[in-house]
Amino acid sequence: MSRERWGSKLGVILAVAGSAVGLGNFLRFPGIAADNGGGAFMIPYFISFFLLGLPLMWIEWTIGRFGGGFEHSTAPGVFQTMWRKNRFIKYFGVIGIFGPTVIFIYYTYIESWLVGYGYFALTGRYAACTDSTQMTEFLKGYQGLVNNEYFSGLGPAYLFFLITFAINILVLAFGIRGGIERVCKWGLVVLFGLAIILVVRVLTLGAPDAARPEWNPIAGMGFLWNPQWEKLKEAKVWLAAAGQIFFTLSVGFGVILTYASYLTRQDDVALSGLTAATTNELAEVILGGSIVIPAAFAFVGPQATQSIAGQGLFDLGFVTMPLIFQKMAYGPVFAALWFFLLFIAGVTSSISLAVPAIAFLEDEFNLSRREAIIIFATITFILCQPVIFFLGNGVLGEMDFWGTSVSLVVFGTIEAILFGWVFGIDRAWTELHQGSDIRIPGFYRWIIKYVTPLMLLTILGVWLWQEWKAKLLMDGVEPANRPFVLMTRIGLMGLFAFLLIMIWVVWKRRHPSEENQ
């Protein structure tokens, strides 16, 4: 069976950028930046980008292409080819399949809300909601958390979920070149087009309330960009910047590694990694930073914007933004464009999350793409059900913690140490520059070997210190929800164990000499 390849260099770059550009670019970044020092936040943000994000981007591209040369597309096989003497290293690679699969399970459901809300915006379904209390009730009704005058069950949410899930599976069924590459190429062009339209609309709002001329989008930009120097003294601001860079670039998922495995050895990874990263930054800092906060500031003023900046992704996306668009001329149209933009950002990310598990089934079990997708779709569809039906019981939050916070940082740390120390920085540097279109400055050897792993270990250490005990003991979880959270945890452990066993079985069958060393 011949190995699938990308159709063009730009195609793989846009696929990686599409994976990176997600809801967080438009909903998470502006709030975090405004909350953590405004313009001053960009200092730790850029430092993290150059010392953490970019090196990890290069690491994932390089090891992915390296592993692809040995017919491995996922972390277990890639790690094993990098450290042949250690027969246990492949088991660490399971995180690179587990993490994205878990995120896919709940991300597709959230993505489906965007389809629903886009439809509701155009049909005026939530037009009667004029304040955040009503809009929150609308969201809760849609999510099936309560029966109210807006919704009397999960029917609409489930229908939009089915549509979204089917779209994802359909794109995946067309393969790397025919599905993912094509969707990401066109999707990102449309996404950037929509984002530019929305930025222009927001920045030309003027002062919607004539009695308050100081409430305008330019002052809103000031809310985001005016530096608060004292914030730089706070460690949490530096951690927030590092965390944001980590999550926004899609590094540590195992997705870039899999995408890069479909490159040939002659393909560049250095320039491609840099291009994908800067495309994501363009979407996040320039476009993402110029919609939510300036629009909120112009319509609801500085005090309310302050609380909006601290809101979670759901409240901002599904409560505040619909209300803000309602206050605009042609609001339903702009709201629909907004939700469509977020949907594209979502779908280009969610398809990428499915790829490691599908590639694992194809490569290691010799399954056809069709068989691998049927297995993946069946398992993830079943696992989506608890997220949908027990949303209010903490299931999603628990999956997010293990799938995102833990898996990403742990996996990124393993990759960085493996690349700089086990594979060896000299060999790694040569591999990174194989077929390269640019020459990376020499000081990055030092950064990749020492600084990036140290930063990752610091983040991991701080998170362990701050969160793990409380998380493990379920502090803050309502007693009624604890059985649901516990069941989710047991289910995730089961999935993790199942993947470990699959790896053991595969290596016993296909690589017995390695397994019996």
Partner: protein, 36 residues
């Protein structure tokens, strides 16, 4: 928006746009080179 705010915004945008344009030009030109 204060002067410092403008400076931070313009520098940040400049760095990102500069890198983006550089990368895209290099990527597209190397693509053409490979096609030949």
């Amino acid at each position: 928006m204060t002067t410092a705010g403008w400076i931070f915004m313009l520098i940040s945008w400049g760095v990102i746009l500069g890198l983006f344009v550089y990368c895209m030009v290099r990527t597209l030109s190397s693509g053409k080179r490979n096609d030949k």
